[in-house]
């Protein structure tokens, strides 16, 4: 055993660079698997802890008058363990420059919040006339403790001021920069005053048995109805579906795929290294067998060497994976507004690390070691270690004409055929890396372009909201403005169908601005009861199909609508708290919303869709129609915030691709180093007959580029279906995706792969150029 260890350690000493590279490959593979496993577990913990520590409510709803008596009565109902109320206003905040959408939450007693408790990050909780922001708000609004903040829900309404007392962490709230909405807290009394209400308007309920939460929500709704209190937007918390859970789930799923790919690449790397060592040591194996050693005795030192690499890689990879996992969890939990759980290494990841690390290395080592030790002693002893043969037929006919261009480059390419197994393994490594690269590119491009195309359904360049009532015919007045090409009266509200929250959009039946993609039934037409068109994701969520009649709750009104058709418009993004959309004719929508035949919002197409031009036009429109207290919203800004949500996915995927590419490149360098040790003699002779350092770099590089080019060809062939699968997988998790993987992306991928290969192959190339002929001729 001691001798074994000694030999394994000497092998490491003799091949420090290769051992390092191989260990690095195993380490990266293990780290990837550990990090993803840890993050998955940690995020689940974060979710649980957020639920427990911040006392998340199971049911929330808006209600007109939440008097203390009413709250008390709700608290006594079956399954209810705690009730709390808040005064909530959707408003805008500003410290001087621009207005930022803000959800303002009024809390009676910050030190004793029964549900949805906030944590103080800095400063102190707000007193009368004071306000505290969620810490992520600083990404949207330039605000510090002590600043005076203006609050104004709409341009026409009166402005209220509050001084910033501190920053808090709002529980389970998506990062402000993604939502494009800040969250702020004030004493409930202040918010009620701003709202002009006597009581709070937001109900929070925690139940004993979450499985029965829906039932309890229905009972509370019925109870409030009976009391004549209008309620709306009932939301029942699904412990498995928290805000952003779908997106995080998608991300983790994709990362899992890639961590498996990474581990696979490590296997190849180890297999190559051990195979090369076996070739170099054929004679030694022969001697051991000649001395009476069994095949197992001959194999053992090499398996031990692999084991050493495996354990080292596993332990280091475990540590790095845990650190990476904790960082990743912190980042993702921060974005999703989850409480970051403490660092909690579990046995699971250690076992996983050892399984992957040791499994991969031993698994990869067994085959080459077994093959090498199988031969008869005489055969083994006769081997000179350097194989000169290359598979003549095809290789030469392929490279024969190339020799006219460059003999050095031809040598490089033919060298590939001398170790077909090694070349194939390396080629596979490159192919897998390229395929993974294409897969992630396809996913991020498909998601981004799909989102863009979803916005294309909306031909509007912006919206204008009026706080003073105007008639729908006001559209004609708007169209007379020189900047406006077209104006349509629209309507918008949030509604509930059962416990599912959704957005309601009213628009003219014959709208020119929205392009419906009808996949079932028809688009809006006159009907009785009122006709509605649902998006397919909403239809799925509530299990509705064409012809069904549904109850739509908007504010304190319930209306029956009939499903006329289903359209493909799955524009629900990261952090969206609503599911899908309901389209109504604008007149029906106004009736149901209860705006009394008056229009509040108009969709606009402008003379130019350029962001700067849109901003300028919208400002001119606000100016022109000042008397109606307008607010405008530019489409491009809305799109940009959706893009930001998608960017996170892209960033994470790219991080994974970097790891996979690193392992791929390590594979190439490893192979080149192995080749180098085998071909020292040839390189020395080349030097002797006049080859300069540059020739040798070119020789090694052309071999590497040949490998990568072939790897790219296979990688593209495999990567295309893989990309399709990944986009499909993402689509089922997220929303229906169009597949995008263009020739430019593929070409760019190949180019990047070739450039990276050229770059990393200079190192072994330079090593080759440092071989002096005398070093190899000495043994003549």
């Amino acid at each position: 055993m001691r001798l074994l260890l000694t030999k394994a350690l000497r092998d490491i000493q003799r091949r420090p660079l290769r051992t390092l590279l191989t260990t690095l490959g195993v380490l990266l593979g293990v780290a990837g698997v550990v990090a993803i496993s840890y993050t998955g577990r940690s995020l689940a913990d974060a979710q649980r802890e957020t639920y427990a520590n911040t006392r998340q409510p199971d049911i929330t709803a808006f209600a007109a008058q939440l008097s203390p008596t009413l709250v008390d009565l709700i608290g006594r109902r079956d399954n209810v363990v705690a009730v709390d109320t808040q005064a909530v206003q959707i408003t805008r905040a500003s410290t001087g420059d621009r207005w930022v959408n803000t959800r303002l939450v009024g809390v009676a007693d910050f030190t004793n919040m029964r549900l949805d408790a906030v944590q103080l990050v800095s400063g102190r909780f707000p007193g009368p006339g004071e306000i505290a922001f969620d810490a992520s708000a600083t990404k949207l609004i330039d605000v510090e403790v002590g600043d005076l903040v203006a609050l104004q829900p709409t341009p026409a309404s009166p402005i209220n001021y509050a001084r910033v007392s501190g920053f808090v962490r709002a529980p389970a709230t998506i990062d402000a920069s993604i939502l494009n909405q800040a969250t702020a807290y004030m004493p409930a009394r202040d918010v009620r005053q701003i709202l002009g209400r006597r009581y709070d308007n937001y109900l929070l309920v925690r139940v004993a048995e979450p499985q029965r939460a829906s039932e309890t929500a229905d009972q509370i709704r019925a109870f409030l109805d009976k009391r004549g209190v209008t309620s709306s937007n009932f939301t029942v918390r699904d412990p498995n579906v928290f805000t952003g859970s779908r997106e995080l789930g998608t991300l983790l799923l994709l990362l899992e795929v890639f961590s498996v790919v990474g581990a696979l690449l490590s296997t190849f790397l180890v297999a190559n290294t051990i195979a090369a060592i076996m070739v170099e040591e054929t004679r030694q194996v022969g001697i051991i067998k000649a001395l009476g050693g069994t095949r197992w005795a001959a194999m053992r030192p090499y398996l031990f060497f692999a084991l050493t690499i495996g354990i080292t890689g596993a332990v280091l990879g475990w540590v790095i994976g845990l650190v990476g996992g904790q960082l990743l969890t912190g980042y993702l939990a921060g974005l999703a507004g989850l409480v970051l759980p403490g660092f909690s290494p579990a046995l699971r990841e250690l076992v996983l690390a050892l399984l992957v690390g040791i499994g991969v290395t031993l698994g990869a080592a067994v085959l080459p070691a077994a093959l090498a030790t199988r031969q008869a002693v005489a055969e083994l002893l006769a081997q000179r270690g350097v194989v000169a043969d290359f598979h003549r037929g095809i290789t030469q006919s392929l490279t024969g004409s190339l020799a006219r261009v460059g003999i050095v480059a031809t040598m490089g390419l033919r060298n590939l055929a001398r170790r077909p197994a090694r070349a194939w393994v390396t080629l596979t490594v490159v192919a897998v890396a390229v395929a993974a690269f294409l897969g992630t590119q396809a996913v991020s491009r498909s998601v981004t372009l799909t989102v863009d195309h979803l916005y294309d359904l909306y031909g509007a360049d912006g919206w204008i909201f009026f706080n003073r009532p105007v008639r729908p015919e006001f559209a004609t007045t708007l169209e007379q403005h020189p900047d406006v090409r077209q104006a349509e009266p629209w309507a918008n509200a949030t509604a509930s169908i059962g416990s599912v929250r959704t957005d309601v959009w009213g628009m003219p039946r014959n709208t020119d601005i929205y392009t419906p993609r009808v996949i079932a039934g028809t688009w809006l037409r006159p009907a009785n009861p009122t006709g509605a068109v649902l998006t397919s994701n909403l239809a799925r969520a509530i299990g509705a199909s064409v012809g069904d009649v549904l109850t739509l709750d908007i504010g304190d009104r319930s209306s029956l609508v009939q499903v006329l058709g289903i359209v493909d418009d799955e524009s629900t993004y990261l952090g969206a708290a609503t599911t899908g959309k309901v389209f109504l004719d604008v007149a029906d929508a106004q009736r149901i919303i209860g705006s009394g035949g008056r229009a509040t919002v108009f969709a606009l197409t402008l003379q130019s869709s350029q962001p700067a031009a849109v901003d300028a036009s919208l400002t001119r429109l606000e100016e022109r129609f000042r008397q109606y207290a307008p607010v405008t919203l530019a489409m491009y800004q809305d799109q940009a915030s959706s893009r930001r949500a998608i960017d996170i996915l892209t960033v994470m995927l790219n991080a994974m691709v970097i790891i996979v590419s690193a392992v791929g490149l390590a594979g190439i360098v490893n192979t080149l180093l192995i080749n180098l040790t085998e071909r020292r003699r040839e390189y020395g002779i080349l030097r002797a007959i006049g080859a300069t350092g540059r020739h040798l770099v070119r020789l090694v590089m052309s071999e590497a580029l040949g490998l990568t080019a072939a790897g790219c060809a296979v990688g593209v062939a495999v990567g295309y279906p893989l990309a399709r699968y990944l986009v499909h997988l993402t689509g089922t998790q997220l929303f229906g995706l169009e597949f995008h993987l263009g020739p430019v992306t593929i070409a760019a991928t190949i180019l990047v792969a070739l450039i990276a290969t050229a770059a990393v192959s200079t190192a072994p190339g330079l090593l080759a150029s440092r071989i002096r002929p005398i070093q190899v001729l000495r043994y003549e």
Partner: protein, 244 residues
């Protein structure tokens, strides 16, 4: 009088073998004029290869001055040496040292590419014809016999038309018939105007060439001109070997 093509003065070479220092050359003075054929003779381990490697710039002298083809080799960097070698010397090794993945023809083309010349296929073919393996141009080294390989190696050494040919035991690994054929080829090259330095421990070869130098223990112990005995393919076994 033309300048000597080789001019060594007081050349020493010391190797470090572990803690032991080995004196491979102990002060060698040597002047070779263009057009000479110098055969260096001596027992194994006396420093012949070391001397030849210093002449080709493959190895560096520890002391003394080394001037070959008008260039002070000790002042050149590794890269400059490689470039210089490509143009000025043709080396023929005991173990042929052909590139295993290149055909005979490509092996001959290789030095042309290395010195940055456009590979001349016609010239390469002509060289292969000259050494008598023209018909094997498209064969790989492992498909050739030892003698054939060494002849390809000679063609390769001639590829850039260097003035100086250096051969270390070129027949050491060949049967006597092939060896004789290789020697007569070298003689032919010498006759066409090349300077040739040939190293051997085989006394029977010492009768070749214009000058024989004997070495012992890192020193030149004898240096004599000989009657110009050129090996000819007169030996019956050469004819019988079938080498054309």
């Amino acid at each position: 009088m033309t300048a000597p093509i080789i001019h060594l003065t007081g050349v020493t070479k010391e190797y470090q073998a572990g803690r032991r220092a080995i004196q491979a050359l102990r002060g060698v003075d040597l002047i070779v004029e263009p057009g000479e054929w110098v055969t260096i003779l001596g027992p194994s381990g006396c420093g012949k290869s070391t001397l030849l490697n210093i002449l080709s710039g493959i190895d560096r002298a520890s002391g003394g001055s080394v001037e070959v083809a008008g260039v002070d080799l000790r002042s050149l960097s590794e890269e400059e040496l490689a470039r210089w070698r490509g143009r000025h010397v043709g080396i023929i090794f005991q173990f042929f040292q052909l590139m295993p993945t290149l055909t005979a023809l490509e092996n001959v083309l290789l030095p042309m590419e290395l010195v940055g010349q456009r590979p001349q296929r016609d010239l390469a073919r002509e060289l292969l014809e000259r050494v008598g393996v023209g018909h094997l141009a498209d064969h790989l080294p492992n498909e050739l016999s030892g003698g054939e390989q060494q002849r390809v190696a000679i063609a390769r050494a001639l590829a850039n038309d260097p003035p100086l040919l250096l051969a270390d035991e070129p027949t050491g690994n060949l049967d006597s018939a092939s060896g004789a054929r290789v020697l007569s080829l070298l003689a032919e090259m010498w006759k066409s105007g090349k300077t040739l330095v040939l190293v051997t421990h085989d006394r029977s070869i010492a009768s070749c060439g214009s000058r024989v130098i004997e070495m012992r223990d890192g020193r030149i112990v004898a240096d004599r001109r000989v009657a110009e005995t050129v090996p000819h393919a007169a030996a019956p076994d050469v004819a019988a070997s079938g080498d054309a």
